[in-house]
Amino acid sequence: MFKLRYSAVLVLIVAAAIGVFVWMTNKPDSRFAFKLGLDLSGGSHLVYNADTSKIPAGETADAMNALQIVIERRVNAFGVGEPVVQTEQAGALGNGAYRLIVELPGITDVNEAVAMIGQTPTLEFKLAQKGEATTDTGATVPIETYVDTGLTGKYLTNAALQFGNGSGSLQTQPTILVTFNSEGTKLFGEITSQNVGRELGIFLDGRLLSAPVIQERIDNGQALISGNFTAQSAKDLVTNLNLGALPVPITLASTESIGATLGDQAVHAGVFAGLLGFLILSIFMIVWYRVPGVVAVVSLVIYCVIMLAIFKLIPVVLTAAGIAAFILSVGLAVDANVLIAERMKEEMAAGASTQDAIGHGFSRAWSAIRDSNIAHIIAAVILFWFGTSIIKGFALVFGLGVIISMLSAIVISRTFMLALGINTHSRLGRFFMRSGIK
């Protein structure tokens, strides 16, 4: 008995300590503050389709990694707090397409968010080729087509804005000096040495900027791009080129943005719903199940405290769906206590002593508790696997709740029930252990 009471007190002290931890780390600047999802804190969620059709089969994963790094660099350049940039493949159930997902907390204006990711400046160098085309009337006319050289913005190390450097009207025109990396320098050298006298077209986003004639082999890895730039457009282009041309073209597939006010309201409503539900649930449990009901409520409080601490430690990003899952899990966590209390009542009715009734109540209720919790876990695992971020948040909280609630119902409630040591041979003791309206 002493040992049991000792462990019961120990459980209470540990739970109180966890409670203090949860309470103390609630300030927004704390390392363990709750992490709120975009739907609760406000922000933008952008999904881009990545066009990997031009990437050789084996290199797609590398290209997607490179894309992620470039986008991260762009987003970071704007100083957004804790942005999330990730790539995913639309797995076994999808069409295998690659996607880029960008989450920008605090950016609630989609325009701003899209601008931050930026347009895709694809810079390409193509060789002009004289050809012939047949017109409708049957006559042949000479035309110019451009063929890929393989030299693209991928090989850039740096772009810089320059004024002048030319003669006449070029004097005041802004131009852009691009510098290639070693690989690009080699490629540029080869192209220029083999094609002296031909035109090298410089394309930005598929649009021809200029097509200077190659005068001689260029080995220093630098090219000067002129076009009809204004000072501003040249400056923007330099910025975008320096932030990195995207190795994979992307198009916006879905956008979502939520203002901070709406998220705030959702958090408050969620917390209020949780507290109100908990209060009604506690009243019900105590009125109906008496002492086992009180024990159930105490272990439910401990369950909540442990869950909140886990949310902070993992950390679990809380969304509206996650909060709903937590509220639901509280209702489910108490189920095990209901089954145990009912079972104890039965054992007592069959004439078992208090200790035996508690022992049998727990052990014989176990098979039903185990089986129903396994069914919950099956649902949680499939939900997690099904999931977009909303559903994953729900499934994670739900699954965690199932596991922790088994622990709290079986270990914690049992310790308390035994530690209380109610004598069921007295009338009062029997009253406390019974349930219902009798």
Partner: protein, 307 residues
């Protein structure tokens, strides 16, 4: 409770509800929201100004008139809160969305509360994943129940428990689905990915009550075997239902209390979700008592008659 005598009456309500639900779904269908079908949604609030302190929201007819000029196809306009509107339409490009905000600003300063736009491909993929997951959960649960009850083969084979559990579960998700077909028709309610999550969750948790009853049948059958007592199967089932009635109702009640709090005072985003779950839980509690076990008895009788 005499199961044998009242067998056919127990089936009336769940059968009726299932038929009604199927009819509702067949007649009106379930209307997918933008995250499943693609489309866009914009929620705005008109900002009160110093001069006007009452409602600053322009009348819905005026808003509709200017929005229709943008040619976005069908636009659903719903008033929300005191000064807000929600606009639902096909998925918009960024420029089109800016145009929409621009015409709304014509009535006064607006605050953009939330905006989302989903391409049709993404939506279709989510829908397909959801349906596959539903099927998968059903298969996993039937396998699990058959496994958990594998030692109980007399007088009813363990896989039959699994099949009966699934019939019960189908009833439990048909009822909320039927309700949303009805709400879709009357209130233009839409189903979103959270609806699918709710159905999956119902599958996971409404099985609880069924397991509690089956677990007791399993135990009573074992006790009878140990004491070499012969009791008709329907008597064992009737006894088991009676013994577990209070806990079946109470375990569901605790969940329903929490869900009701979520529905009545919780965030707007999870209101429909809570409603779906509440309806599913109520249906689940009823069906575990009045559908699952009587079905086992009926099946047992039927196979005896044909043996």
């Amino acid at each position: 409770m005499n199961i044998t005598k009242n067998l056919k009456y127990f089936f009336i309500l769940p059968a009726l509800l299932s038929v009604l639900a199927i009819l509702a779904i067949a007649m009106w269908g379930l209307r997918p929201g933008i995250d499943l079908a693609g489309g866009s949604m914009l929620q705005v609030t008109y900002q009160p100004t110093a001069q006007v302190d009452a409602s600053v929201r322009p009348p819905v007819e005026q808003v509709r008139a200017v929005v229709e000029q943008l040619n976005f196809g069908e636009v659903r306009i719903q008033p929300v809160g005191e000064n807000g509107y929600i606009f639902n339409q096909r998925d918009l490009s960024n420029e089109e969305k800016n145009q929409l905000v621009a015409v709304l600003t014509g009535f006064g300063p607006v605050h953009e509360d939330q905006y989302s736009s989903v391409g049709p491909v993404l939506g279709a993929e989510l829908l397909r994943k959801g349906l596959i997951s539903l099927g998968l959960v059903i298969i996993c649960i039937i396998l699990f129940i058959a496994f958990a009850f594998r030692h109980v083969s007399k007088p009813v084979a363990s896989w039959k428990y699994g099949v009966v559990a699934i019939v019960t579960l189908l009833h439990d998700i048909l009822v909320p689905a039927g309700l949303f077909a009805f709400l879709g028709f009357y209130e233009d309610a839409r189903i979103d990915s959270l609806f699918i999550v709710a159905l999956l969750t119902i599958l996971g948790i409404s099985i609880n009550d069924t397991i509690v009853v089956f677990d007791r049948i399993r135990e009573n059958l074992r006790l009878n075997m140990q004491h070499s007592k012969t009791e008709a199967f329907d008597v064992v089932v009737g006894k088991s239902i009676k013994q577990t009635l209070a806990r079946s109702i109470n375990t569901s009640l605790t969940v329903i209390i929490m869900l009701a709090a979520l529905y009545f005072v919780g965030p707007v985003a999870t209101k429909d979700f809570a409603l779906t779950l509440i309806v599913g839980m109520v249906a689940g509690t009823y069906s575990s008592i009045f559908l699952a076990s009587p079905l086992l008895v009926a099946w047992d009788k039927w196979s005896r008659r044909n043996a």
